[in-house]
Symmetry: C2
Subunit: 217 residues, 2 copies
């Protein structure tokens, strides 16, 4: 190999290394490259579904009668299905040993707040910058009947996204809950809340290209 | 350099690379090495202060009269001071263009939920695993009087941790709020909620070693 070929070889090698190593930035144990392409902020329904689908956890809020009716936030894992294959409805695996499930059985009013920040796709923006998206789904937190097809779907959705749930202690009596969404508060760019109905959110088509891409990366 | 020296040189080089590159894992744009040492889970007060101090954002919950009194969670940035130099009291920079500040001005009942997960110190654990810590501070969300020394401290705390706040639009009328803590719900290991009073939380000494260490990394 002469000097010119060597230089060319090193140029190609550095490019390959740049793409293989440089883009494999790890965020919360996941590779950014496994996060599918973010929809355009103006496509509110697709964006909201993407945000819910890509995230693994959020804060689930209930009314705490133990704390004078205060709104009680609790960090929980959730799943609406596999990334890009979800239904948009968040499912939870909760035990009444934790106050959130107890609160919900007394008063169903609830919300789930999720941030784009942990996905690593906000760049240098502050978590409260409107261009770093956030969503709050408000509605009723209810038990899913174990004998239904929905319970099967929900269990698969939870266990594939959160495999350790399968081994959580049986005597803790974990049960599947879901949030029946009644209102959607989405901020994903400057200019205030994006208009988005529950019907638009639930019936949007997920980005097919992102879905196909996710099968190969 | 003979073959033996070359092999030795490569061994040393790979070790150096392992420590320089291998440990510089980036979590949400921060290096894990800048996060100070986690206190022992049994030291509930120090652990809670560490969790609040190290985090940049959480979900702030208020009662939404617009949504039938539902608990409304909202992703926000906060600061209790610089990491390891905080007061334990979370301060926020909010505008009444966003529902959370409007809700708080009508009904002060509020909570702030924070997870250890985004710090990258939970290892392979699921965000809902009790060994991946979470804290909920419940109390009253109130405006901080701009003419006080506390407002000066709070502004410095917010602007040093969230520098872009300094440039947020003046016509949005951002104001400083604080959470007056009345109850602390901390899960940081198996075995349920850790007993921890507000007084213990506010008056614990931060880990001095971690504080000194943080000055050098």
């Amino acid at each position: 190999m002469n000097n010119k070929s060597l230089v060319h070889f090193l140029q190609v090698l550095s490019l390959v290394l740049f793409f293989v190593v440089g883009t494999q930035d790890s965020v919360e144990g996941r590779l950014i490259s496994t996060i599918s392409k973010k929809p355009h902020p103006n496509d509110a329904a697709a964006f909201a579904r993407w945000l819910v689908s890509q995230n693994y956890w959020g804060v689930l809020n209930t009314i705490s009668s133990d704390l004078g009716g205060a709104p009680f936030g609790n960090v929980v894992s959730f799943s609406d299905g596999l990334p890009n294959e979800g239904s948009g409805v968040p499912y939870f695996y909760l035990t009444t040993l934790d106050p959130t499930a107890r609160n919900a059985l007394r008063d169903k009013r609830s919300s789930l707040a999720i941030s784009e920040y942990p996905l690593g796709t906000c760049g240098e923006r502050d978590p409260e910058n409107p261009a770093c998206a956030k969503i709050t789904l408000t509605g009723k937190l209810v038990l899913v009947d174990v004998s239904t097809k929905e319970a099967e779907f929900a269990e698969h959705a939870l266990f594939t996204k959160h495999p350790e749930m399968m081994d959580w202690p049986e005597d803790h009596n974990f049960q599947i809950f879901k949030l029946e969404i009644e209102d959607i508060f989405l901020i994903n760019w400057f200019g205030g809340r994006k208009p988005l109905t529950v019907d638009q959110y639930l019936h949007t088509k997920m980005n097919k290209f992102a879905f196909i891409l996710s099968k190969f990366i």
